[in-house]
Point group: C2
Chain length 335, copies 2
């Protein structure tokens, strides 16, 4: 049978309250502290988190709800978050909702039943699914996408999507490209809108009139990227470069280009998104825009811990800047 606080009390001759105080970092006499430590070691005592959770109404657990577990962008962030949180004694419960808003809603409720102390969510839904958490005054943190519906009520860690797209487009413009296609995600998704905006800004900077035909709307999937690059190629015979705005679509585009035997960068320059591995394994290595995954995870965990400790409960939005990773998929045009 596992030992309890009572056993420690008996062993040391102290009272329950004193042991509890020790466990929770209260001040006590040095020799008592030592006696307790010795007893704990001797009896191999471990706090019962359930008794503790019952009394204190805290689980030292944060729930994470994400659209997809098999997505490197997400798991790399989680990996970092988990490391930081665990260091502070928090565990992480991950729910993968498979990009289904219904499932996402259920996941939030599920985690709430598990009495998580906070919620980190890369949202699919518009925000209603988080209301139950907000009602209970749990700290909630959004990853990757803000939710206008929840503005001011939750914290948020984003990467600078607009800047990322601007940089990528500029890179192509600097290399002399003027007919630059872009494949963006769904128009109702935040990251997608901003990436398109950044692209437009860069074009304007360079005095290039935007051509609607060069903008392909897709859905952030491999399939979608495949289809839209085909459309772009067909409808824009003079297109010399393309910017694909997420990882999955970049994959799709590459597959299509490979199949069609389009040579990169001789016939078409391309800038992709995320995932360094891909950029290296493609032939030639891809120039990509990459988001600061490590930093996102770190800041998210930090923000959550702040809120959990009650130190800083005011919701905050952090926008982290992206970087461009040079490959060999952009051709320098001699004008």
């Amino acid at each position: 049978m596992a030992s309890t606080i009572k056993d420690i009390a008996r062993e040391t001759g102290l009272s329950l309250a004193t042991i509890s105080k020790y466990l929770n970092g209260g001040s006590l006499r040095e020799k008592n502290r030592q006696a307790i430590e010795q007893a704990i070691r001797k009896l191999d005592y471990h706090v019962n988190e359930y008794a503790r959770g019952l009394k204190s109404n805290r689980s030292r657990t944060v729930g994470v709800v994400i659209p997809e577990l098999s997505n490197l962008f997400i798991t790399q962030i989680i990996s970092v978050m988990e490391g930081v949180l665990q260091e502070k004694g928090y565990s992480v419960m991950v729910c993968d909702c498979r990009s289904d808003p219904e499932r996402e809603c259920r996941a939030v409720r599920f985690l709430l039943e598990k009495r998580v102390d906070g919620l980190i969510n890369m949202p699919i839904g518009a925000g209603a699914h988080l209301e139950p958490a907000l009602e209970k005054e749990l700290p909630v943190l959004l990853l990757d996408r803000p939710l206008p519906l929840l503005a001011g009520r939750v914290s948020c860690v984003l990467s600078d999507n607009e800047g990322a797209a601007r940089t990528a487009a500029r890179r192509l413009l600097e290399a002399g490209h003027r007919q630059i296609g872009i494949i963006v995600g769904p128009t109702d998704i935040f990251t997608s809108q901003l990436r398109l905006k950044g692209y437009r800004e860069a074009l304007e900077e360079y005095g290039v009139a935007p051509c609607e035909n060069l903008i392909a709307y897709s859905d952030y999937t491999v399939q979608g990227g495949y289809r839209q690059i085909c459309r772009l190629l067909e409808e824009n015979k003079d297109m010399t470069a393309v910017f694909v705005t997420n990882y999955e679509m970049t994959l799709g585009a590459l597959i299509a280009l490979n199949e069609r035997g389009v040579r990169i960068p001789e016939e078409l320059s391309i800038i992709g998104f995320d995932n360094l591995d891909l950029s290296r394994v493609a032939n030639p290595p891809l120039t990509i825009v990459s988001q600061p995954l490590e930093e996102i995870g770190l800041q998210a965990a930090r923000l959550m811990l702040d809120q959990l400790s009650g130190e800083n409960r005011t919701p905050l939005t952090l926008t982290l800047s992206t970087s461009i990773q040079e490959g060999k998929s952009v051709r320098q045009l001699t004008l």
Copy 2:
């Protein structure tokens, strides 16, 4: 304030024990059942898992310890497991130990403190790290690699590594290749040994004498794959095909081949491992051996649930068969 079982008792005029019986699936009078259901809805009652856990000593949580969260092979399995487990009311706590045995050991202890009901582990260490769990008689399930140290004491879900390698090597032999290189992982790792064994068996079947120079020992990393393919190329000018035995090394090998301008499959045929996306994005699409991720996750969850329910506590080892995904990276040699 959240409502409790007491509120439900008051609302319905029944006793605590009856409500508890309802919650745990006991039998009761139809009208009482209805009354309780109505009260639960009216008061928005949710079980307090902490009180329940305290009393019943079960957390309805299973811990998962893995070497790497940013590894598609692993996350796809977890994703499936999580889905199945959640359906049965279990939540999943994931700890990523970053391929560090020390961290792995800590993760197990951490999860034990969180009072998980079972442990699923893709192990780094030799097994000692799981002793504390076994002592407490928790069901333990190993993923991907068995641990001789724990044989007979834990369940295990594996893929048929030997068969996978045999199939891949046969595929190359059938295509007429005879000088077939292989890049394997560390010699002390289970999967690695079996993959090498399978390769040897296939060679023998075809009466091809194994050449030690064609066997490159590496470490399952991108870097390692990169280095070893270089070595193989240099030392075996007559090598016409190579089999790379995990995803990361396949990536590394591809990068090296791309950099060197080695044409696939004209100059070198290659069969890779895992990850379908990669196989499609590479140019030409790669022929790969792929493990049944979905099935592994499913069976692991099923096995764990069986053990948790006490239905079938005898440890079991499941070996699942792999498949080969045809690409265009294997050249048919006309002998």
